[in-house]
Symmetry: C2
Subunit: 327 residues, 2 copies
Amino acid sequence: METVGRMAGVSQVTVSRALSDPSKVSPETLSRIQEAIAATGFVPNALAGALASKKSMLISALVPSITNIVYSGMLATFSAELRARGYQILLSETGFDREDEAATVEAHLSRRPDAMLLTGVHHADRTRRMLLGAGVPVVEVWDITDTPIDLCVGFSHPEAGRAMADYARARGYRRAAFITAGDERALRRGAAFAGRFAQAGGEGPVPIRGDAPASLAGGRALTAALLDEGFAASDGALIAASSDVLAQGALIELAARGLAVPGRVAVMGFGDQEMAAALSPTLTTVRVNRDALGRAAAQALLTRIGGTAPERQVIDVGFALVERQSA
Amino acid sequence: METVGRMAGVSQVTVSRALSDPSKVSPETLSRIQEAIAATGFVPNALAGALASKKSMLISALVPSITNIVYSGMLATFSAELRARGYQILLSETGFDREDEAATVEAHLSRRPDAMLLTGVHHADRTRRMLLGAGVPVVEVWDITDTPIDLCVGFSHPEAGRAMADYARARGYRRAAFITAGDERALRRGAAFAGRFAQAGGEGPVPIRGDAPASLAGGRALTAALLDEGFAASDGALIAASSDVLAQGALIELAARGLAVPGRVAVMGFGDQEMAAALSPTLTTVRVNRDALGRAAAQALLTRIGGTAPERQVIDVGFALVERQSA
DNA sequence: TTGTATGCGTTATCAA
DNA sequence: TTGATAACGCATACAA
């Protein structure tokens, strides 16, 4: 800025002003400064700016996995919303381990982000302490709780599991199994599904199987194991999955064995990915509005950064059961 | 650090040393300092550190889309590799517009990243100038060129398109169409496919259709349009797609119309996503090793940051035609 | 409308 | 092994 200023015949401060609020500088000097900037290729140092102003214009985001469409979809909307307001995104994958997450949170806090997005509501004690100590606005997404660190945007996983069970019972399925990925939210949906299904008159106990990452191959294997145990020996059986990908794996295995869906075995997914409506049979699943979630999370943080307390600390974006052919 | 130092009975500088290189501090003072850090919950300010040391430990990554598995998969490996070395990732989606990319590059440069990852090799002039001017190590991925900005890790899209055409001709398909997403690399594969297919004795000209984002619905629609035009009026027809997702859409549309694959119409995809091997029929496609690509990009940047020039500026990771049932 | 002085929290240099 | 001092490049308060 010193150099640019010299070229334009003004001081460093005036250059700073021209960049941050052009209206504070006379039109003539402004254009001289802009010429100097163009001539030198000057790019302001945001690190120094952040240090001086105590505003980093950085938002950190921690998600379990960016290759999983449910997180990357939400993240895309979240990022776009914030980028439009001049923020940039510091991203990390945390997997599903709480201690890893704590370490990542600490690394992110060293960059002094203006806000932070966390996935899920269960964190290490140390994470909570660091965040509270740092005083950064935090939004926990993809789940809800009565005791958020700060803000919270998501939906109830046990409720989603129960809704799946109620649907299955209402459609008359007598026997059910839940195939699942290993993440904690999927497991809570599974437990809620199993509990409600038996409670609502279905045969219990409902087997819950699997803890690998969600993949087609995983869905096939878990389904194959169930069938080998005689799970579909008689009609009225339903396989509920913790994700559409696992459900698609189930459909593939059932097709390979020539078992009719939903006639012999019904299938339910979770997530309503694009392929759900295109599969054959089309997949009955649970829709979560990822765009709405990402947008709500961004907006909540923005108002919080702006100083005004958001109307609600906890926003439940809900979910919707999407009835199609597979169950 | 001042405060921590007072608690431990040393100066601020010693605290800094304890953090950056513990071996430079006596064991006793080190443990006193660590106690003080634990007691205060002190988290060092990386912004100030970066400003003083001129090393931000930040790597910026620009990809067209994070919801597309081909980019997010590569990114996951790239990030993991760098995070293991203490770097953090500043991420932006740039879409497919060069001016948008230029603006994003400028915003990222203001954070003084130690290196930058760019997708593709075609950029605005301004982008190239800024990058060269800033002197940051740059790796362009997912494509190759003789004139990289700095480093380059990818494969040849025209070659991939020609390999698909050669395979199709070798299998005896006489007529072909290419359905594609709108991105520039997909279009270059399509053009190369069309050119080679005709040149190798296939019927020409080969229609190239579509420029929407890759989706199942898009694949179905493009396929439907081709079929409505009588594309599959006789045997020996093949539909090549710019991605596995589009190819899956094609398979769905063909199944819906009762057209046998590959008997009546053959289908080829691109990307070898997980579902490719699980579809029915299994999908013939082109595999690109996303992990290897992300890892090579990270390693190239790391050696470049380390000061030693990497052995090669351009790394061709190649691709492989995966022969399955659909073609 | 512009400029001067000061501080942000580190690291690097030099000295003790 | 430790400390004093000077950058790093900008924004803020205050003055002119």
